[in-house]
Subunit: 358 residues, 4 copies
């Protein structure tokens, strides 16, 4: 089921950028969970377009409608269906690509796979799809809160501008204080300036989102193919424009020796901890109780203003010029999406762990 | 099913490092595929321990037995069960960790998750598990060959020693010519020297394996949660000690602008190609017909000779000293595992694409 | 995923009897299939309430809305989301059961399972859920038509009144000619009279629906756990009030000897056929090219007018009296549901067979 | 995954009748379960061939080997792989069907589906496959015992000879006291005589197995597509030669009126019960705490001595004469298989219910 994510806490999505809307069915959410729909909406508001000059100017209120599964403010154990209508689709912006394939978009590959495509706004390949993910992720967050697990993400790099501080030295409560969602104020200011410069140039730029999960108990994750970090990796790499994922020491760990990389165990009160956390809170695919942290690389958005060489469906050479509203840099709006996908992964593993308790 | 990988071409594995052996069931392999068991064995031989001074000295012949699914040299459509007996398990090497948790191993997390663990040789968390993956991957490779798809991997970095050449400028046929499996001979020599040095010091070192898939037709992959690169990412992050995955421009792409990163389309004969390949052969989660390439980060092996601080099951402070045979650097033996997992991912998507052809 | 049916052609449903509506997501439908939404609606019209005096008087237009996956009248390969609004929910009819458990309904078991229930109209346990199944089944039928496969069902028994003719001696085109959907006119008249009598008595009665699948090629079905008839069985037993399933000779075959039961093979032109068809078109779980036929037993509807002994949530003795509109006999409206579920099973196996063609 | 059964407690099987053996991987069994392998073997002994004159004379010891997942007599949470070697395969008995299709066997459909078949002993379509099911079911039974759930089956009909007593009036402890496994001694004697008569005539006869599950708590089962009875139905219909399934009132319920069929609720101590149990312990797909009971129809075995009309792979008319050892009546040996499949279904739902407890 290619439009479904998860094993026990599952998300099935549908919708296109310029159709009636996007939506999802969340199956497996336990009954009896108080559903704070204001919180769900607030998460959608963090992702929705038009928040600031840094993001696309498409105007969508992204109001979520509950179609099923919640009764008198509480989950019933039935599937939860959510729907978010499209309001500001300007299909005319896309008529120029009805035939042509935009470079580094999914136009060509959808045509190759399906022999047909809904080109309007990118159809199903649009990042508008992630609105459903954020709504479902908000419900997963509510479940995780009952377990003491908290999920946080922030922008740690835009282009070559990055914060030199590890997450442990940042005040993560500052993430939402700037439109770029970097909790290091000085770096945030430089990032914003860079995005503005890129936007004015009609260009785009990539970035990195760092995720941090706190309060995760030991024992979550499955140790072979559904390793906690492998599931996180798949989740993050599912996000539009994500090109890489690393956790703990990640790529920087390859240059280390085992004697420096190993995390010594010690006991603090009743809790077993590690002196360092190069493991990123996961050992053998299973959480060890330390913070889980990871980084996701996002490429520059493919829609740019300058004319580009391409071909059309007939295979003829054409020039494609950027139209359609788009983000100059995707990472500020990717932050709630990263959080949502991480929350879905963890909620699933919480239920899987429960299942095996006899 | 945490011990199963794949949707239509599926691998289910079992076994522990010091039990009777490791094995697997491959379900969904099409009937009528000629099964070259010499090839399957040769792939296992690439992974097996004791190949050179660079790898663990555990001696295992890793002879694969076919238990079902192949009749007169051809697949029947029935599940293919394979078994690889353990021969050189030295359980006595591990008695010192019956109670203690080895730092950065899975001892503690298995105990936390299951309340019990087969500590002998790491039990199911041992990389011996990957023997099954390689056997199954070899069968997937035979399927892919009928589709013109080839999977290759090589070591591109050990510690800080890396080849500066992209895969397009390397002669990949040289990969097997050195025990370190780096097709750049000068770099390979330096890598070997480094691994020798590390081994003599009783230490370990990390590295990077690069994967390359050629001959992949456009249209493989599912565009939302089962994106081709997200499935590859999950597959690679499932491999023991893998800490990061990137494809195409990966983490380096975050510093690029869209105008430089976009891959222009052009036509060559009947084939649509891109001028550059920052997309890594995948757009919108679906293959575009260009080469697919990716990189996997591996941490240094956790087993080292030096004494390390830890705790035991009772939570008491203990010192753990390395015993048990192990690899000073995992990447040379990870090469066939990376290829196997990539082959499994692609074989699955080939079947998924077939399914939708009406 | 308990609200999902199928492996490759999948149906995920949501909705409650008295919520905003019911709906579904169909994932895996191949791209490029012409979508005749008038046909889909006509199938829903066969199932909707208020068709005749034989069925519940709840008035629902059951107009289906397409939320995604169809572009310019053709499937795109994206998930197809459908929604059917609830229009005539009379929640006040159900206030008497807010606390009490109606005998032989799902009130008590939902409460036991979830600790909460949306009692209004039976919530998610209402047969209104099957509207989604019929809509999805209609799409599956359109897919099957491209393969020459046709699915038909009819009422063969109501109470003790049954047609003595096998399906091969009935004119199945007459099924829709009476409100009871029995293609044997004399028997139909007796069935209608019986249902009228039962309805006037404030009581209900059971019945049998027979299904017939023609044009199914040999080779559909998976031979171990996903046998074609086992999947059909699960599908039929999923339908509200279904208590039994048999195919081919079914329960009557237990009294036969092998020499009488075996179906001799012979060749007619290029086609291999069997002289008899006690196998019901399925051997070893796989279709053999002969007609597939099966029977589904439906119990009498649980809602009756007479007062009944029961308990409430507090465990106190109460008397429950029937309110709420309901069917005196479920089988006439179950006919399109049986067809829909059979179509979903077959569409799935068509895709599964395709997947394995290399 | 067509060779896998279950969602959380899963069984994946492999093997052919005349290959090295049959086996399985059980994934999802909770860690810490004491594994009584003598019990597992005793269950296999109930199913194995050669027990009495009523069954096939193939001699197999069916000794189960544990390949993984059990350490010091306790499950570790790792997959449990079991293997049962084939010892008495007489492939020469089957050379006559290398080309010809035996009537009402799976020879033709396997050939149609796969284009190839391992004809020896029926290959994978042999009921020898069910040895794995019984072994896995025994492990499921051990899990269920910790929950107070007990699974029992017995032969209630052979040909036209049936016990007139409901299960509630039988002493189920007598089931194993006769080779036909009917706990009604007089009826058992008649059944045995009939099977003997049929066997001497070179013929075969069908029968019915009744299943009874006691101690099942309310709340097991999923209410839409994975209804408890629908999963039981699929499980039973997966058993070789099973042609029908009914639970509770089943097919006999269709002739009843709702006023007679409904099961009134009452309270006995702290337990809510029903006065009658036409529901068969399941309402809305979920257990209600009463006994679950069901009936499975088995057709006569297809292998008979008399010559039969058939065709060969070339489509030519041939006569097939019965060879190969086989059972004159399958139901006595089907009893442990029915129990095993029921146990697998219930174990799965126990885990699913656990998963949702937050």
């Amino acid at each position: 089921m290619p439009n479904t994510f998860g094993t026990l806490f599952t998300l099935t999505t549908f919708g296109e950028s310029h159709g009636p809307g996007v939506g999802c069915v969340i199956d497996g959410c336990p009954a009896g969970l108080a559903m704070d729909m204001d919180f769900v909406q607030s998460e959608l508001d963090r992702r929705r377009p038009g928040q600031s000059r840094l993001t696309t100017q498409r105007k969508e209120s992204d109001k979520v409608q509950v179609l099923s599964g919640i009764y008198e403010g509480v989950t019933t154990g039935a599937p939860i269906a959510l729907f978010i209508a499209n309001e500001d689709a300007r299909t005319s912006d896309y008529s120029h690509i009805a035939q042509a394939f935009r470079p580094s978009h999914a136009d060509y590959t959808y045509q190759a796979k399906y022999g047909i495509r809904d080109y309007r706004g990118g159809g199903r390949s649009s990042a508008r799809e992630t609105a459903s993910w954020v709504a479902a992720g908000a419900i997963a967050k509510l479940l995780l809160k009952t377990q003491g697990i908290d999920v946080h993400a922030y922008v740690s790099q835009v282009g070559t501008i990055l914060t030199s501080l590890p997450y442990t030295e940042l005040d993560l409560s500052l993430t939402e204080s700037t439109p770029v969602r970097c909790p290091d104020p000085d770096t945030a200011a430089q990032m914003i300036a860079l995005i503005e410069e890129v936007r004015k140039a009609g260009d785009t730029i990539g970035g990195v989102v760092t995720g941090v999960i706190t309060g995760c108990p030991p024992g979550l994750g499955e140790p072979i193919f559904d390793k906690l970090h492998a599931s996180l990796g798949q989740a993050m790499l599912s996000i539009n424009a994500c090109k890489g994922f690393e956790y703990g020491s990640g790529f920087s760990g390859v240059a280390m020796r085992g004697s420096a990389h190993n995390d010594a165990f010690f006991r603090e009160g009743d809790v077993i901890k590690t002196r360092t956390n190069h493991s990123g809170g996961i050992q053998g695919g299973i959480s060890n109780g330390m913070d889980i942290y990871f980084r996701c690389a996002f490429k520059p958005v493919a829609t740019i203003v300058a004319p580009q060489e391409s071909v059309n469906e007939a295979g003829e050479s054409v020039t494609v010029t950027g139209k359609g509203r788009h983000d100059p840099c995707v990472v500020p709006r990717a932050v709630p999406v990263v959080e949502a996908m991480a929350a879905l992964v963890l909620a699933d593993f919480v239920l899987q762990k429960n299942a095996a308790r006899i």
